[in-house]
């Protein structure tokens, strides 16, 4: 509630008396505080503060009154409170008691040195490696005793991260195929090499772009969901509950996600390949007059089986990166809703980054192997 000027807390000086008036409440004292800091106060031996005209007082008003009294006392005056309503007087006493001996404590400063930052990065790296180790151990244990594997959860996860992603992956790959074919067609037309559109779309899509695009989509769609889910469970102490029941959080939460994504992502990549080639075919037909059958015939000649396999073989590695980073960031959440958001963001950024880096490493590796 905004106060009209006349209702703001008032203060006027008359010889050795300070006359207070109107609303000494949280909405009225804002202006007064500024006034107080600049107002010259009487410096007599005894100063009276008259509160007869105060119509309402709350904690904020009482606190300010105490500040005023303290300032006068520091200046060497004896302060007398007079004319206050009994309940206002009581409130001032009460707040004075509450504030006694309670100096404001300075906030803690977070260590911000460069060294501390690097040490942090080091710790982070070590704990990430430890997490990967933990996941591998429990994966090996699961392989040794397949009864421990949670098939139901794996199937549910495949549905969530795979089947439900089909429309978006299909649409985007199709559009990607269209774009590549269109850009290529402009160049190929110049040389009259229309039929080589199949080589262009086939190689770029199957070998590189379709698996990469799918992986990046899944980072944003599934990796972030893993981080947010595990993070929220951590905040709500569900992870701690699992441990006390004697179930390993890695077994229950990470393994099904990891296994299901390793199964789902290659399948999604195949689907992306198909959609992208189809997009290229449509474009080749309309822009270059290459019929569907001619395109297929050329595709079969141009693209070897290994090109397709190179593309698909990267998908399980991408899947492992996405699942492990998503889950790891989820487990790193501490206590607050803000932390869930932070780690979800980090999981997406890190996994997209790593997916692209690993894709580059694969390219180098394949060149060295000569495939």
């Amino acid at each position: 509630m905004k106060n009209k000027r006349g209702e703001d807390a008032g203060l006027s000086v008359a010889a050795d008396t300070l006359i207070c008036s109107n609303l000494w409440t949280v909405s009225g004292v804002g202006a007064l505080r500024i006034l107080l800091d600049n107002q010259p106060l009487p410096t007599c031996d005894t100063v009276a503060i008259n509160g007869k005209a105060i119509t309402a007082m709350d904690t904020a008003g009482a606190w300010l009154m105490l500040q005023l009294r303290e300032r006068l006392e520091v200046a060497g005056s004896q302060v007398v409170l007079e004319g206050f309503q009994p309940e206002h007087h009581r409130l001032i006493q009460y707040i004075a008691e509450q504030c006694q001996g309670a100096a404001t404590v300075a906030p803690r400063r977070a260590a911000g040195s460069v060294a501390a930052w690097w040490i942090n990065v080091g710790h982070d790296l070590i704990s990430f490696l430890a997490f990967i180790g933990e996941v591998i151990v429990s994966l090996l244990l699961a392989v040794r005793s397949p009864a421990r594997i949670r098939w139901r959860e794996i199937l549910a996860d495949i549905y969530q991260s795979g089947v439900k992603a089909l429309p978006i992956v299909g649409l985007l790959s199709f559009l990607m195929g269209v774009v590549i074919a269109y850009q290529g067609s402009i160049q190929l037309k110049l040389y009259g090499a229309n039929i080589y559109i199949a080589d262009l779309v086939g190689h770029s899509m199957l070998r590189e772009l379709a698996p990469l695009l799918t992986a990046i989509l899944v980072c944003g769609r599934t990796g972030s969901a893993y981080a947010a889910q595990i993070g929220t469970m951590k905040v709500r102490e569900e992870v701690a509950a699992l441990e006390t029941i004697g179930m390993s959080p890695v077994d229950v939460l990470v393994l099904p996600k990891l296994v299901s994504l390793i199964i789902a992502l290659p399948l999604l990549s195949v689907f992306a390949d198909v959609a992208a080639i189809f997009g290229g075919m449509v474009m080749a037909n309309s822009e270059l007059g290459v019929s569907f059958s001619a395109f297929f015939y050329r595709l079969e000649e141009a693209i070897s089986y290994s090109t397709f396999m190179i593309g698909i073989s990267k998908a399980p590695v991408f899947a492992a990166i996405i699942a492990i980073i998503g889950c790891y960031q989820g487990f790193k959440v501490e206590g607050s809703a803000e932390s869930v958001g932070q780690h979800t963001t980090i999981s997406v950024v890190q996994s997209i980054f790593l997916v692209i880096v690993v894709d580059a490493l694969f390219s180098i590796l394949f060149v060295l192997l000569g495939v």
Binding site: T25, G30, R33, T59, G335
Partner: protein
């Protein structure tokens, strides 16, 4: 001009969830300066009633007046003005986890007043002390607080604007008996000092005897009775008898009668 001493008045309140009738014709008045407790078994709509009073939910029919103003269909500006005049302590504290205690308590002040930052921090610190927390607690984050401290910090935030009415949703749930007792004392003390009106949902029988002036018993979608604990404990109304007849209730009752 409405009666100055009636803070909340509820008339013919009706709430329906799908086909389940939660409240059917509830009338209730709360006067200035009293502590009213809302009790009732699980699912009798205590929290829903509280939610409707603090304008988080709208009833299906009936009128709720806060400070003489209708809250059903109130304008945005009107709602903002009303919200300034009451504070709410949520069951789990609902402290913002990304802010320190000091920032949590200062938030309503920042939103609703034009005070400068130094003064807001100073006032928030006063509230934190008032709520019985140590000054060091001001810079802790909610996940570093114990259950009792969370309740106190949340109370400090609810009190930030010196509200006229305080709504408490199960203020002592999850606290040990000692902390619960001192929390009750704190609420009474604040009520005396600041002239608060307190409305609380509680299951804590000790709180009902020591803090509440009147107790409203909800049951069967109706208000089964509103009276002091002494009077309610002598009631023969079936819902009231059922609620207060467990062994725990009887023990507390005996202890309280002996104390009187």
């Amino acid at each position: 001009m409405p009666d100055q001493d009636t803070i909340i008045s509820i008339r013919g309140l009706r709430t329906v969830f799908d086909t389940r009738v939660i409240h059917d014709g509830i009338d209730l008045d709360v006067s200035r300066g009293e502590v009213l407790a809302l009790v009732g078994g699980s699912g009798t709509g205590k929290s829903t009633l509280l939610g409707e009073m603090i304008m988080l939910q709208a009833p299906d029919a009936g009128a709720i007046k806060l400070f003489g103003e209708d809250v059903v269909g109130v304008s945005e500006a009107g709602a903002r003005r009303l919200r300034r005049r009451f504070g709410v302590l949520f069951q789990q504290g609902a402290l913002f986890s990304g802010l320190t205690v000091l920032e949590n308590v200062g938030l309503p002040l920042r939103e609703h007043t034009r005070l400068d930052n130094a003064m807001i921090d100073a006032l928030a610190q006063v509230k934190i002390l008032q709520a019985g927390l140590k000054p060091e607690a001001a810079h802790l984050y909610p996940n570093e607080l114990s259950g009792g401290m969370i309740k106190r910090a949340a109370l400090a935030r609810a009190m930030a604007l010196d509200p006229e009415v305080l709504f408490l949703d199960e203020p002592t749930s999850g606290l040990d008996p000692g902390s619960a007792g001192s929390f009750d004392e704190l609420v009474l003390k604040l009520k005396d000092m600041l002239g608060l009106t307190v409305i609380m949902v509680t299951h804590d029988l000790d709180s009902l005897w020591t803090v509440a002036d009147r107790v409203a018993v909800l049951g069967g979608a109706k208000l089964q009775g509103v009276d002091s604990m002494e009077a309610l404990s002598l009631s023969t109304e079936p819902h009231i008898v059922e609620y207060f007849s467990g062994p725990r209730a009887r023990n507390t009752q005996e202890r309280q009668w002996k104390r009187k």
